[in-house]
């Protein structure tokens, strides 16, 4: 793992709140390499955004405790002084966010915001900055880039805005792009365009990409490896094939089961995972998924470590069940992978 471009080890992020310490990320470890796309999947509150914001140092605050190592290009970002970390942000690591309308400053023209991203890290002339901005706008597929430079964010459509954000994140040739729910606020058709764009750019520029989403259907299109997070922990990690064809964690089964597929018959109702994610201030003891898991048994109050159990070397999970059992109980009554209580299986 240590050769990878980004290697996060045992990251813990705890916020001090009026109700007590909130453990947003407890012991997450993941890595991503050049030319590779890592998908991080989970619902709101899983810790996926916090972990990645922490990589960039955007969660540093007086009431936040951060421990663990964030190795990037040979340096530990977790302990890097603020000014040096600033030089990494927007330069070696770029990040784009969910809502491109609110993520761009409404009062400044696009050209100005792009140039600002360049000038924060390089000493270039106005002309050079302008040229580079036009180049990037072209790269992300925006027609008439010169004209667009002098427009304001509200003059762009949703998809175009996200392209602008991508252009801005890539303008300094970062080695790693973190995309936090880049398509959630967009139409389905535009979603596909943006994901394709990210994949193309990765090929062309050879960078690493972390794609954060709650939608399994999104990652299918672009990622190589997947980490599934739940309640601050990574509960399963593996290749795309591993996750889709041999999922090892009940939560993953639930995610897969709630996917709607066009090529299958419509079932009478959409399946969902019953219950709510746990409180991160007072999480359940042991496996965090236990209260919602129909397959929980008496070993589950002991925290399952993230280990390879299924046989595939890079495929890790946090579930005490035996792999053979998993392969049985994960098939639901409709014959698909899902999360459902089964008769005769110990509960």
């Amino acid at each position: 793992m240590s050769d990878a471009l980004l290697s996060v080890e045992d990251l813990e992020v705890t916020f001090e709140t009026d109700d007590g310490p909130l453990r947003a990320v407890s012991g997450a470890s993941f890595s991503v390499d050049r030319g590779e796309t890592l998908g991080i999947v989970g619902e709101s509150g899983s810790g996926k955004s916090v972990a990645n914001l922490t990589v960039l140092g955007l969660t540093r605050a007086p009431n936040t405790a951060i421990s663990g190592r964030i190795m990037f290009d040979g340096r530990d970002l977790a302990t890097l002084p603020a000014e040096e970390l600033r030089r990494v942000r927007g330069n070696d690591i770029g990040m784009i966010f969910q809502d491109p309308l609110t993520s761009l400053h409404p009062f400044y023209k696009i050209g100005r915001q792009l140039a600002e991203a360049i000038n924060a890290h390089r000493d270039v002339s106005d002309n050079e900055a302008r040229e580079r901005s036009i180049e990037l706008l072209g790269l992300v597929g925006i027609p008439e880039p010169e004209r667009r430079l002098s427009q304001y964010p509200h003059e762009f459509s949703g998809g175009m805005r996200q392209r602008v954000m991508i252009a801005m994140a890539l303008i300094n040739d970062p080695k790693l792009l973190i995309a936090d729910e880049p398509t959630t606020a967009l139409d389905v058709t535009i979603q596909a365009q943006i994901l394709r764009l990210i994949a193309e750019l990765q090929e062309r520029l050879g960078m690493a990409v972390i794609l954060i989403t709650h939608d399994l259907g999104v990652i299918v299109q672009v990622v190589h490896r997947v980490n599934v997070m739940y309640a601050g922990r990574i509960v399963e990690a593996g290749t795309l094939d591993d996750i889709f064809y041999d999922p090892q964690h009940p939560y993953t089964w639930g995610l897969l089961g709630s996917l709607t597929r066009i090529d299958r018959a419509r079932t009478s109702r959409l399946s969902q995972i019953r219950g709510q994610p746990p409180s991160l201030i007072a999480p359940p003891q042991g496996c965090h998924f236990r209260p919602r898991c129909p397959h929980a048994f008496d070993r589950c109050p002991e925290t399952p470590p993230l280990e390879a159990r299924s046989g595939s070397p890079g495929h890790l999970d946090r579930c005490w069940l035996e792999p053979e059992e998993k392969r049985v109980v994960r098939i639901t009554s409709s014959g698909e992978i899902g999360l459902e209580a089964r008769e005769g299986v110990r509960a």
Binding site: L58, R86, G90, M95, T102, L104, H105, E116, A117, M165
Partner: protein, 320 residues
Amino acid sequence: MLRYIVRRVLWGIALLFITSAVIFLIFNILPSADPAVLRAGRNAGPQQIAQVRHTLGLDRPIYVQFADYMRAVFLHFDFGYSYQYNYPVRALIFQRLPATAFLVAGAVVIWLGIGLPTGIVSAVKRRSLLDRAMMATSLALISAPVFWLGLVLLYLFAQDLGRFPIFPGQGAYAEATTFFGRAEALILPWFVLAAASAAIYARYLRSSMIDVMAEDYIRTARAKGLPERTVIMRHGVRSAITPVVTLLGLDIGTLLAGNAILTESVFNIPGVGRLLLTSIERSDLTVIQGIVLFGAFFIITFNLIVDIAYAFLDPRVRYQ
């Protein structure tokens, strides 16, 4: 944009008209004193009073008087005569405007210069000791009555009355002959007038900044690797300042309309506010009407300026 301005100007004129009608009605239906008697002089007999009333046109039906007044104002820019000073109202107001304008201008500079940085620092260092100290001070300044603050400063720092005679005191503005002499005479009044406003603007900007700094584009700015100072000033303050601009326009408009009445009284500055005070005491209706009309004009104008400025500040507004 041009159509917008034209429409607003026309509406402004209509507002002025309506305001004058309302004021005219108020002061003529509920008069506090009889202007004919005031003008006729002491011991005037009933005949004389009647003659004065006739000369002043006060015995005509009220709508005739109103029409004449409006015609005089809008066509000839003639606001009539002051009963107490026997002096044309327009000349009176124009004589007093420079003092008020100078007072307001200086105060604006000071309260923005103190209030805005305070608001920004307080927001950025929210809940720190500095923030709490600043907000407590601002609350004290807002609560302090203007005339009390003025008197306290006079008795502390005025050259003629104060314990530490540093600044010119009461009446110094009227005595001063040079520009710098007048400016020096206004130092204490500037601070008095600016005190409460600085505090209000500090709190307002603090609140606005706290909202703005939680916005997504601030997160983007940081993610771009911008220095924190740039994030706060170019991205944060730039957004947070727009509601303050609206407030400022209104404040300047109302101050020019005579709202500096208390500061002008305590320091004896011959401005519009003090004129308004004496005119109310003496039931000098034409002056009151004139000042109110001028005031309405200033407020409407500054409202318009602020709206136009807003369009320049916030590009999203231009498309409405």
